[in-house]
Symmetry: C2
Subunit: 202 residues, 2 copies
């Protein structure tokens, strides 16, 4: 941020600008989200925008940061540790994922469609991190006997598989139905996570 807003008026403007960025992206798509439009939507002028954000991408990063915190919060709020059945735990996580993706009137969908030219990596990495942590705890508690060996790899695969299958599903006509998809995804993931480390023939 180029300058710290000191007065109440300007703090509100910064807030309004980030809000407006989200709104514009959601309503007009990332391509048509211009500085002019953002400013107009926020009810301020373009010039003011540049008082507090070095450039347009700084604005978008601010938006992404806010969203990332949102997701992390929601994830933490799910009481997943208490769920004994692995299948059920995975299923709940996946359903949470779908609900996030559909929230905010398509904002997430538009962001996801444009993941590569956004600081999405930050967000994906963050999610991955959270899932990693969560999995570690979960397996420590529920699978004391044979702790999964290559949890890192497995969580990497599972997170990406689920994320992008969901994305593909949502960003095109859902020919399959969310219910079935969630169920089958859960079966694949839970089945894989529960597999013993190596299948070395005796």
């Amino acid at each position: 941020m180029r300058k710290q807003p000191q007065q109440k008026r300007s703090r509100e403007m910064v807030r309004a600008l980030v809000d407006a960025t989200g709104l514009c992206i959601q309503r007009h798509g990332l391509d048509d989200t211009t500085t002019a439009r953002i400013a107009e939507q926020a009810g301020v002028s373009v010039g003011s925008l540049y008082q507090y954000f070095g450039d347009k991408s700084a604005l978008i990063e601010a938006l992404m940061d806010r969203l990332a915190e949102d997701i992390a919060g929601g994830l933490r709020r799910l009481p997943l540790m208490a769920v004994n059945d692995l299948n059920e735990m995975v299923h709940r996580s996946i359903r949470f994922g779908f609900s996030v993706l559909r929230s905010r009137d398509g904002l997430y969908l538009e962001l996801v469609r444009n993941w590569h030219r956004l600081p999405t990596h930050r967000m994906v990495d963050l999610l991955q991190q959270h899932f990693m942590e969560l999995s570690r705890l979960y397996f420590l508690r529920h699978y004391r006997d044979y702790p999964i060996e290559n949890l890192e790899v497995r969580v990497f695969i599972v997170t990406n598989s689920v994320l992008f299958t969901m994305v593909r599903h949502v960003s095109q006509g859902d020919v399959i139905g969310e219910e079935a998809l969630a169920r089958e995804l859960t079966r694949m993931v839970a089945g894989y996570l529960a597999e013993p480390p190596e299948t070395a023939a005796p």
Copy 2:
């Protein structure tokens, strides 16, 4: 295509332009692939480009079409039907996928990084279709006894999972190692595909 090339000279030019488009994307990235650069690379002028391609995106679509045919061809050339072990079959497919992604000096990587603003859907759908067809044949031949119920859903999940896990892996530093990733992906996919339709408790 705006006009059909009638003379040999112009047919070669069209070819050269598509080649040049691929080269530019691969060398300079999609963002810096300008009509000027493409024309220069092809050794023709910008004006000539517009003789045969309505606009820049038409050129890129032509490139994508060519690549799609390439992949389809390679896929057909793999003798997967003969492989009895499901695990092995999946593993070979995945390794083929990696090899495609790495081929053409990073062209595919650049395209993949920018999938959303390209007619990539065409390509992904095509791939999915091919895998669907392939799976149907494979399971018909090898699993006569209980044919997989919801093959559509499973193939959808599996294709997307594998594709995008590979993409994520390749488009960032591979902290994991391709070998391990291919092995684990295979385990997840083969395990899931071989699962019986429903796990209704007796």
